[in-house]
């Protein structure tokens, strides 16, 4: 990828992080850790990979994204708002009464959200069904599925994986946000997952592990032509990535954060963004 594209995506990732923090600030609490960890993957997908039209969010042959870790809603909302699916100001309504931006993704409430998720594991089968359906309809799009690592405790995810490989659903790209932590602590302490990549490969997927907070690596893997099998991409990420204090907080799945602290983080992220833009001469 050229340096201009890379810088653009890095900027977009920072903007997504700013959008996440803006949402948490407005509500005072929220699922910040697992939203920040997927910011880079979302930046690459919505910034350079996926085909979609914010003016026609239901276009049948669009690329689709299912965040089965429904609690990453704030990250997806930030990306969608920045791409014009709805006004950026609306981010401040996260979890307010009557909002169109609930904690967990809801396809009926939010423009651009392709599937309702929240009960962990369920988005896997939904995404596989969407991908299989698109394939049977002869559409050329792909379906990107994001699961957590703790989420893969759910047996349904492995039913879906077995099914996707067996039925050769090769328009599916399954991202595992391997940020090492789930609600109660470290994944390895709660339910050791061993080797995700080997697991997916043994299920019949093509599988690869990459630095999930590296824009270039993400771009490279998402722009490769589809193979014969579905693709699993294990994203080696840091929960809370991009905001040092969140990264350093052990229990960062959902955090209560005061406005002043959020402002400090927004300032840090804003400075990084300004520096990137300055470097680019913008």
């Amino acid at each position: 990828m050229d340096s201009e594209t890379k810088r653009g995506l890095e900027e977009f990732a920072l903007e997504i992080r700013i959008g996440i923090v803006e949402q948490i600030k407005a509500r005072g609490f929220g699922h910040i850790g697992g939203s920040l960890s997927v910011a880079d993957a979302l930046a690459v997908l919505y910034g350079a990979v996926m085909s979609y039209d914010p003016k026609n969010p239901d276009k049948e042959d669009r690329d689709k994204l299912v965040s089965s870790k429904g609690h990453a809603g704030p990250a997806v909302y930030a990306a969608l708002a920045l791409k014009g699916f709805f006004p950026y100001e609306e981010l401040k309504t996260l979890n307010q009464p009557g909002t169109r931006l609930p904690s967990h993704c809801d396809r009926l409430k939010t423009k651009g959200i392709d599937m309702t998720t929240g009960s962990l594991g369920q988005g896997t089968s939904l995404a596989v069904g969407m991908a299989l359906g698109d394939m049977l309809k002869g559409r050329k799009n792909r379906v990107f599925l994001i699961t957590g690592d703790g989420e893969l405790d759910e047996g349904q995810a492995w039913e879906a994986a077995m099914f996707a490989a067996a039925k050769k659903v090769n328009n599916l790209v399954w991202l595992v946000d391997y940020n090492k932590k789930q609600l109660d602590g470290y994944v390895k302490d709660i339910l050791e997952p061993f080797d995700f990549e080997a697991k997916f490969r043994s299920f019949g997927f093509d599988a690869v592990t990459i630095d999930g907070n590296d824009i270039e690596k993400l771009y490279e893997v998402f722009t490769k032509p589809a193979g014969m099998r579905p693709l699993a991409v294990i994203l080696d990420t840091v929960k809370g990535s991009g905001v040092k204090e969140v990264e350093d907080t052990v229990s960062n799945h959902s955090m209560n954060v005061g406005a002043e602290v959020c402002d400090k983080w927004l300032k840090q992220l804003g400075d990084e963004l300004a520096a990137l833009r300055k470097e680019a001469g913008r």
Binding site: R107, S125, L126, V128, L132
Partner: protein
């Protein structure tokens, strides 16, 4: 509605209707997709399935099957899903509730062998609670099938209806109640027999038992209406209230736990109406193994039990 009931069995088993109707719907409508959880052979679709890329055997993985069906609904398909009743309800409840109902995806779920129809598969396979579970899903449609012609028409209608639709049906033969070609209105009960002393609201295999009960009661001078309440949700509340207003007692009859099924639905409608409501249903028990006729006696799901309940409700 042309009622042809004379107590005789229909020569067509329910599984024959399923095995013929699902392929026909798939042939007629390119948006129909049929998913099964390794039970195609039980409803006669196994031979046809390999010839159609929209007939998908998901293996023994019901939660995934429901999710895949809902995902396919989201991209424009009309999924019809089949497995045995307990696996079509309990086993995948959060999936049908959220991926189906909450996410507003449309899926037809066929749960075969409801209640005592599970017979020799025994207690693990015997759902006395599937109606209760599906009734608790907002806006779901719940139907307990009476005869072959009803199955044929309701399944055809379900294909194009929005939302979560649950169809519970035996795989065996049942008494023929409706004339060939009959059309059914989902949500409307059907008066099979008028009566002035009592009204029996029945569904599924209990409709035949209710008709037998009404005949024997007639010989004793008791006039009992029989109403086929095949749609348990949305319940035909107007019809229930109308009969409650003109008879001395109402009795429900269902192949299901008394908790959460037809009896519950009728009681919810008639609460405060002052009419006596009796019931013939499973008394909050688990299922067990045995021939269906034995199980019907064991769980008190027979014409004799209905007649007895009517007599006692009229006392």
């Amino acid at each position: 509605m042309n009622i042809v009931y004379n107590g005789e069995m229909d020569s067509r088993a329910f599984k024959d209707i399923l095995g013929a109707t699902i392929p026909r719907l798939a042939a007629e409508d390119p948006d129909v997709v049929y998913l099964d959880a390794d039970l195609m052979s039980c409803i006669g679709t196994a031979k046809w399935a390999p010839t159609c890329d929209r007939a998908i055997n998901c293996g023994v993985a019901e939660a995934n099957m429901i999710g895949v069906a809902c995902g396919m609904s989201a991209v424009g398909f009309k999924p019809i899903v089949h497995t045995f009743g307990p696996f079509a309800s309990r086993r995948c409840y959060d999936q049908i509730f959220l991926s189906g109902g909450y996410a507003k995806n449309s899926v037809t779920v066929i749960g075969t062998d409801p209640g005592v129809c599970a017979a020799f598969n025994g207690g693990t396979h015997m759902p006395f609670e599937d109606v209760a579970l599906y009734r608790a899903i907002p806006n779901a449609t719940v139907v307990d099938i009476t005869d072959a012609n009803m199955l044929l028409d309701v399944l055809t209608q379900f294909k194009d209806m929005q939302g979560v639709k649950y169809l519970r049906v035996s795989r065996k033969n049942a008494a023929k109640v409706y004339a060939d070609g009959s059309k059914f209105e989902i949500g409307k009960g059907i008066v099979l027999r008028e009566g002035t002393d009592a009204a029996i609201f029945a569904c599924g295999i209990m409709v035949h038992e209710a008709m037998q009960a009404a005949s024997s009661l007639e010989k004793e001078g008791i006039s009992a209406a029989v109403i086929d309440m095949f749609t348990i949700k949305p319940l035909d509340e107007a019809l229930v209230k109308a009969y409650a207003g003109k008879v001395k007692a109402v009795v429900t009859a269902e192949n299901h736990n008394r908790i959460g099924g037809l009896y519950s639905a009728v009681c919810e409608t008639l609460a405060g109406a002052g009419v006596r409501v009796g019931h013939v249903a499973v008394e909050d028990e688990y299922g067990e193994v045995g021939p269906q006729d034995y199980l019907q006696k064991r769980f008190r799901l027979t014409a004799e039990h209905i007649a007895e309940e009517v007599r006692s409700a009229l006392k």
